[in-house]
Amino acid sequence: MSRIVQILESYAYGDGIGNHVTALHRELQKRNIPSAIYANTVDERLRNYAEHIDAYCAEPDDIILYHLSTGSDLNRKVHQYGVRLLINYHNITPPEFFSEYSEELAAGQKKAYEDTVFLADKAESVVSDSKYNSNELAKMGYRCPLHSIPIFMDFSDYEKKPNAETVQQYSDGITNIVFVGRIAPNKKQEDVIRDFYYYTKYFNPNSRLILVGNYRGFEGYYLRLKAYVKKLGLKNVVFTGHIRFDKILAHYHTADLLLCESEHEGFCIPLVEAMFFGIPIVAYNSSAIGETLGAGGVLLNEKNPKYAAAVMDQILSDRALRTVIIKQQKEELRRFQHDVVADAYIKYLLGE
């Protein structure tokens, strides 16, 4: 039987792609399918699962599943192992979002795009987290079969205990509007702040906005957001910065609504997390967001902060509406269940 060899630039602990790689590896092992992971950088906590890419010796029957999400020297080398190559495309954020804040990061994204185009005729097929990603590849010249399967999400992680102190701190009767995602220009946290400005000033002063996410790499953008909050006179906006997972869980446990104004997402994991926690979602209809939400949540087709605020108010003050939205979101959650995703991946990898 062929061995599935997952290769990626950085095998990081706790990030979406790292979790996806680990979940697929475990699933393959569970089904007695040989599986291995190699990466350029491996988090110490994942040493039991993976080895450095230099240790990889290709065997003739190997099938490489290459995780493509960033600029890397591997992007230009992975086709040289002389075995079957499949790509798992997780999307690349367009460089124009970053150029104002970091020339280096923008250049990295530009290179990643060029590398993705370079790989267009090298892969046997590609599996992406969304149809949006597949369409992006088709535009880049990919002519091989393009499949879409949602990213693996380990829902058992969400059943872990949230940080009790944070839960207590934010269970004070104030309405918590939350956005989860690193502080990055494509996520458009400034639009979330603007929506919240209208909501808290004209609909519900007893509310706060919590922006959960690391700002490392985008300090300039973070400082601008903080200055914007100050300029708007908002006292009730919290930037958590990088926090432990149990604290992220605490914010989901205490959130009343998830507001997303992101303009570029290849999948958007926080939407599915919000579905899991039964938090109503209001999101701007961009990139893969509509596809991930499906019939759940409320999609905003234009950037109109006053409308967004009015919609948020309706959801938060109408219990029946909120119940309907949460119920529909729970139904959508089925598409992302571990077994559904696992079966689709195994079927894809075994070519069934």
Binding site: E219, L223, A295, V298, L321, V324
Partner: protein
């Protein structure tokens, strides 16, 4: 959300807004500028803080 429910939500939001007559936001994000020096100082301070916290295991 189903189309009829969605339309109802949007219609109600529109009605609410027309009744409230909300003025525009007092400042737009694109007018906010941060100097390169401030970003560099912030990065430096954050880096030092992170090292201290790591050193003392916090």
């Amino acid at each position: 959300m189903q189309q009829d429910q969605y339309s109802a939500v949007m219609e109600k939001a529109g009605k609410t807004l027309s009744q409230k007559n909300i003025p525009d936001v007092p400042e737009e994000f694109q007018n906010i500028k941060i100097s390169v020096l401030r970003v560099k100082v912030f990065r430096f301070v954050t880096k030092v803080k992170r090292r201290i916290m790591r050193r003392f295991g916090r």
